[in-house]
């Protein structure tokens, strides 16, 4: 109803819509949190049911945000990848929006197989694959937590806490390669645990086979998840060695080795671009952290566009989790120091959290990077927090206070979950679907942008190099199969077409320029009209900066719908030009 109010009214500015949205979230989170955190005994089936309901409810919220087609930008990239695979029958068909993604074709393969078997559309099949993978991940994670902690209740609380990871409910529920790979990561962790704890050698062998198969599937599906899986397996191997579980250490060590070799082999033979893809990020993070430790400026953006309330809630959440990790780590050391999984999670969670805080506070893209990394870091973190919370709930003073104390803890945990949702994705300025907003990710995806993208494919052909604002950019990649560029501001920040601009456009092989007159009347809530404007928006674009293309001899105006125009720069090459 919140989403419907947004669509019918002012989008994220709809007061009633926002109220209904958060009320709906509270109605989902409070009963589940209350049940899991109460001291009443809860059956295994009860816990599983609660976390299944939580995962499905949050997934359906994501589906309901855009129930007629994909609008989350990353999903367009995989929509295109799947469509290309279905059309060409080949793996590794390059994709303009996500060249690296084509070298990790797992989700496209699964979706293509499902479409071939059922005749569903890419959107419908994508929703099924993403939904199933998301639920699998959460449930496998629960099984892994139970095997590790040996308490269904703490495992259930850990899963609840895991939902406070920013973007969990969107980035790991979207039709993107990470969503599927996470399901394999969860399955591999459970299979690896079972391969170590089963009594029968035959059962251990069988689970080992499953673990190896899921390692291969993870490596083919998503780069970062495969690295995290390798790291996790190695970490448990080390922790097992430290705690004296030699057999477990050996088994996890072998799996870590298989995973590492698979990753290395995949990068070497199939996906060599992975190194170039990650190099700038790694170098940037290292440099920023180095600057920070040297007392210089990290280059971290300080002009957060989030409302101050979101910021305070986020800071309070970070502080609360930091304290709870410390308490949880102490609990782990005090009570479970002979237990390799818990000690592994203690080490991984604590170190991961410190690094994540460093990235968040110390690097220029810290907020986004930390948000993405949270999917992995929160796995051990949520266990530590759950250990701390359980200890707290069961403590004598809390017992004396009774239901009131439990209610306070439930409220605190729900606040933590709300913090994750409020500071995750979609951001506050597109919390609810609604009217079009310029250059603003999901809220820029309207039927008009979709129709233009299909038009571009039909009339211009695929693969054209196009200058476009950041709103239509992902749609042109997805539905249009075009090659829009990120470095485009220079085409929109001058009132006249100069030799320098023409030279730069020619050097980049720019074939078409897209203009949207809405950029002249509305500021982008995302802060940037074009993808190469990081923190340096040019504000409202003067109309003359866009209409200059109407007056250039040789530049054909090939498309007009009153708002969006396309200009053909190629015609500069053949339309007769005046002699100088």
């Amino acid at each position: 109803m919140g989403y419907a109010a947004g669509r019918a009214g002012d989008g994220p500015n709809s007061g009633s819509g926002i109220l209904l949205y958060w009320l709906g979230q509270v109605l989902i989170l409070v009963p589940i949190g209350g049940k899991l955190l109460s001291r009443r005994s809860l059956s295994n089936t009860g816990v599983i049911t609660l976390i299944t309901v939580l995962a499905i409810a949050e997934y359906l919220l994501k589906v309901n945000y855009s129930p007629l087609g994909f609008t989350f930008n990353d999903e367009f990239l995989h929509w295109r990848g799947t469509t290309n695979m279905l059309a060409s029958g080949k793996l590794f068909e390059l994709n303009y929006g996500l060249p690296i993604g084509t070298q990790y074709p797992g989700i496209e393969e699964v979706t293509s197989a499902l479409i071939s078997a059922t005749g569903l559309s890419v959107f419908e099949a994508g929703l099924i694959v993403a939904g199933v993978a998301h639920l699998l991940f959460i449930l496998f994670l629960y099984l892994a937590f139970v095997a590790a902690i040996r308490s269904q209740r703490i495992a259930g609380i850990a899963i609840l806490i895991y939902f406070s990871a920013p973007s969990l409910t969107t980035f790991t529920s979207m039709f993107i390669y990470e969503t599927l790979a996470l399901a394999f990561l969860g399955m591999c962790i459970v299979a690896a645990l079972r391969s170590a704890i089963e009594k029968s050698p035959s059962d251990r062998r069988r689970w080992f086979i499953v673990a190896v198969l899921t390692i291969f599937a993870t490596v083919i599906t998503h780069h970062v998840t495969s690295y995290m899986l390798t790291l996790f397996l190695a970490l448990v191997a080390v922790a097992s060695r430290l705690t004296g579980s030699r057999k477990t250490a050996a088994r996890f060590g072998i799996l870590a080795l298989i995973s590492a070799l698979s990753v290395a082999g995949w990068i070497y033979f199939i996906a060599p671009d992975t190194i170039n893809y990650f190099s700038p990020n790694v170098v940037g993070i290292v440099q920023s952290l180095k600057n920070l430790t040297n007392g210089g400026s990290s280059g971290a953006s300080t002009n957060s566009t989030s409302p101050s309330l979101n910021l305070y809630v986020e800071l309070a959440g970070l502080l609360a989790i930091t304290v709870l990790i410390a308490v949880g780590a102490w609990q782990a050391w005090k009570r479970h120091r002979r237990h390799p999984w818990i000690i592994g999670m203690m080490i991984g969670g604590t170190l991961g959290w410190i690094v994540s805080l460093g990235i968040r506070l110390g690097t220029s893209d810290g907020q986004e990077l930390a948000g993405r990394a949270a999917t992995y870091i929160y796995i051990p973190v949520s266990v530590m927090v759950a250990l701390a919370l359980t200890r707290f709930v069961n403590s004598a003073p809390m017992r004396r206070l009774g239901a009131a104390a439990t209610a306070a803890i439930v409220a605190a945990v729900v606040a933590l979950l709300v913090d994750g949702l409020a500071n995750g994705w979609p951001p506050f300025w597109e919390r609810l679907p609604g009217p079009h907003q310029v250059a603003s990710f999901e809220s820029s995806v309207d039927p008009q942008e979709i129709a233009i993208s299909y038009w571009s494919l039909a009339e211009l052909g695929p693969g054209n190099v196009i200058a476009a604002d950041s709103g239509i950019y992902p749609v042109l990649i997805g539905y249009g199969n075009q090659n829009p560029q990120q470095v485009t501001t220079f085409l929109y920040d001058t009132p006249t077409w100069t030799t320098a601009v023409a030279g730069q456009a020619s050097g980049l092989n720019m074939q078409y320029v897209e203009t949207d007159t809405r950029l002249t009347t509305s500021l982008p809530p995302s802060g940037a009209d074009f993808l190469d404007q990081k923190g340096s928006t040019i504000g409202l674009v003067p109309l003359a900066y866009l209409t200059k293309y109407n007056h250039i001899e040789g530049v054909a105006r090939v498309y007009d719908d009153g708002t969006i125009n396309f200009y053909d720069l190629q015609s500069l090459g053949y339309v007769p030009q005046p002699k100088p």
């Binding site: 419907a4 669509r7 295994n44 049911t49 309901n64 129930p67 793996l91 590794f92 068909e93 390059l94 303009y96 084509t102 293509s112 197989a113 499902l114 071939s116 078997a117 059922t118 005749g119 569903l120 699998l136 099984l143 139970v146 902690i149 040996r150 308490s151 399955m187 459970v190 645990l193 079972r194 069988r206 198969l213 291969f216 599937a217 083919i220 599906t221 079009h436 008009q448 129709a451 038009w455 052909g461 695929p462 199969n481 077409w497 074939q511 109407n550 250039i552 001899e553 040789g554 054909a556 105006r557 498309y559 007009d560 719908d561 009153g562 396309f566 190629q570 015609s571 053949y574 007769p576």
Partner: protein, 312 residues
């Protein structure tokens, strides 16, 4: 129990074969979708049965079956890639059917090898905890829980349906699309794989596009109505600033219209679209980038449409 212990294999086989046939014959969705989903998940079920113990507890059995069903297309697709088998619809269906049938054989062999008496039920990993003792189930609470979760399911389905309805009913500003694009068949641009992130290939394709576009002799004139209501339009094609052709066009919402016209860049071509009854000010216009020869003979209302009307 023992008598029916191979029933699952039989069901999986029948679903897989029927699903394969339905998908191959492209039967209606009501038949293909449920059978296709069965075909998709059948290999996962059978192979998780074959690889793991038959008596794996419910949740773990279900999760590993679904997980394996997701693993197989990935590994199978990669195998096909290695064998140079194109991954078209028939290949995927073939892969799933073959995996299912092989799974049937594997499970049958497994069960023949291991008589049922030897297998023992396992405690699920989710119950392998000292503190995981299940409280006794009470009939009343089961009924209450079932009704609550049934209600939750209904709310979820209702929420999706309501969301679909509200998204369909969402109002967007109306617009009309007009384009004039030369008809170019650029084989280099079609080879998308060669273009992506390959500057040399992009250069080559752009040059080819440039050449071909310069030599194009035909163009598509395209109009599409998205005003939310049927509209009447008039499209005028001007060559050297003179109207050479007029098309009256009536379009329903979502309907499009297209015509192929002769194309050149040696002189000015402008297409003006009017939304009737207004026949004086064009709603939209497009052109071929060529200048109108001076002095500009276009009517004053249209003079700005000529690319060289303003000195820049």
């Amino acid at each position: 129990m023992y008598r029916n212990r191979n029933l699952d294999i039989a069901i999986a086989t029948i679903i897989a074969v029927l699903g394969g046939l339905a998908a191959a014959k492209q039967l209606p969705g009501q038949i293909t979708i449920p059978l296709g989903i069965g075909l998709f998940f059948a290999p996962g079920y059978l192979w998780s049965e074959a690889i793991l113990n038959q008596w794996l507890p419910g949740l773990e059995r279900a999760l590993t079956s679904v997980g394996m069903a997701l693993v197989f297309p990935i590994l199978g697709g990669f195998l096909f890639f290695g064998l140079h088998i194109p991954l078209f619809r028939s290949s995927w269906i073939g892969l799933l059917v073959v995996l299912t049938l092989l799974g049937v054989v594997a499970v049958a062999v497994q069960r023949l090898r291991q008589p049922p008496a030897v297998r023992r039920p396992q405690r699920p990993v989710s119950q392998q905890s000292g503190r995981g003792n299940q409280p006794p189930r009470r009939g009343g609470s089961i009924a209450l829980n079932s009704s609550i979760f049934g209600l939750a399911g209904l709310v979820a389905i209702g929420a999706v349906a309501y969301s679909v309805k509200s998204a369909e009913a969402q109002k967007f500003p109306g617009y009309t699309m007009l384009s004039m694009t030369p008809v170019v068949d650029n084989p280099l641009a079609q080879n998308i794989a060669a273009l992506s992130n390959n500057l040399a290939a992009q250069n080559q394709a752009a040059e080819m596009q440039n050449t071909l576009q310069g030599k194009a002799t035909q163009a598509h004139l395209f109009v599409a109505d998205h005003q939310g209501v049927p509209e009447q339009y008039e499209l005028k094609l001007l060559e050297k600033a003179k109207v050479v052709k007029t098309w009256p066009i009536t379009l329903n919402d979502g309907q499009s219209w297209q015509v192929t016209v002769a194309w050149t860049t040696n002189y000015s071509m402008i297409a003006d679209l009017y939304l009737l009854p207004n026949t004086t000010t064009p709603l939209h216009y497009v052109n071929n980038g060529a200048c109108v020869t001076a002095p500009n003979p276009l009517p004053v209302a249209l003079q700005a449409e000529a690319p060289c009307s303003v000195k820049t």
